[in-house]
Symmetry: C2
Subunit: 198 residues, 2 copies
DNA sequence: TATAGATATCGCAGTGACTGCGATATTTCA
DNA sequence: TGAAATATCGCAGTCACTGCGATATCTATA
């Protein structure tokens, strides 16, 4: 299996991957330097050595550059990793542990920079929710797969919401913290708050 | 008190209020008829009897028309109504009861139409989250005012998130339901799910 | 009631994200 | 090697949104 994934990568694929990465890096660098709005597509294209028209052949929109760093790999890994959790583990903990593992591997130097860019304007802050919404949907669907009993659906829907909320609050806590601690700690603390009764 | 609020409304204020409402109604009607993207600002302006330039004197952006119907009155009422709740009522229930009361009064014929427009595209679905984000922030700030103990902050932050999540899930449930039941029922059911342990 | 000052409306010219189209170059595969 | 698939590009166009300066309308005051 994975035959098509690892089949010999031709010049075309390699160049495409390289260009994609170059645009994404150039973009986030420029955003960080001069601000998101102040950075025009033309500037990104020029700094990436492509024409403005070609940019849209790689990213549908300007903010897809940010989504690239925020979501790449993460969203696709959630479903399989969540299904790999022990079937008898309570759903909320299954999600928590999945997030724990994933965060550890997808934590790169860019993530803090991207986070700061996202929080530089109200519009972007809102746009970031698209990611959470998508993840919430994925988590819910996967939880339903883990436990298909229809009478549990409403409960699982709620758990997906709460889990992504805890995730979001962990990121918020990290951003507001003056120190710099490992992301896992914020996540653990965030989920721990859920232990107390409402 | 409220002196400036009820002081005689001059021609200027009245016309402004009327025009604002006319634009908002025209806009949402056109969105419903032809779709959000297919409705240009020019069309809204013309149908409202104003110039395109003047539109932006009433709304900063095109989608502020939707925000007008979604949020007007609601967001401003949450804080005072939440503070009016009995001080000994547990925070989550205080928020729930506030929402219950508010939903009853702000439920108009437009709300279903607006909801459908918001859900007609991914972009708009995401943009709607701006409202929830804002409400969550307001609820959190107000809960902190109700109970200023610093050791409760993290807990209250979580409650604000959970409360808005339950609100959002209630709206989702209503949208997915084939029947048409009072909004309050969906909200009650949504909060009831939180009773069960995670 | 006349009038100065504040506010409302508008047209116009611009910017910037994004799209469709048609031309040309590059890569792949038979 | 040559035809098909894909990548790149320029160009012209659309649409949301902004800044500016002109004119009209309303309000408060003398």
């Amino acid at each position: 299996m994975y035959n098509e994934a690892i089949k010999k990568e031709g010049t075309r694929e390699r160049k495409r991957r390289e260009t994609l990465l170059r645009i994404a890096e150039t973009g986030v660098t420029l955003f960080a330097e001069q601000g998101y709005d102040a950075t025009t597509l033309e500037a990104i294209a020029e700094a990436s050595g492509i024409s403005p028209r070609t940019f849209f052949y790689y990213f549908k929109t300007k903010d897809e550059i940010l989504q690239y760093w925020q979501g790449t790999g993460f969203a696709e890994s959630v479903a399989p990793m969540l299904l790999a959790q022990p079937a008898n583990k309570p759903p909320l903990y299954a999600v928590r542990d999945t997030f724990m593992t994933l965060l550890a591997s997808y934590q790169n130097e860019k993530s803090l920079i991207v986070d700061r860019i996202y929080n530089s304007s109200e519009t972007l802050r809102v746009r970031k929710q698209g990611f959470y919404l998508h993840m919430e949907q994925t988590v819910f669907a996967t939880l339903c797969e883990r436990d298909p009993r229809p009478e549990r659906r409403a409960h699982l829907r709620m758990i997906a919401m709460v889990a992504l909320g805890a995730f979001r609050l962990a990121m918020e806590a990290r951003r507001n913290d003056t120190q710099t601690r490992p992301v896992g700690e914020y996540l653990a603390e965030s989920f721990a708050v859920l232990e107390a009764p409402f």
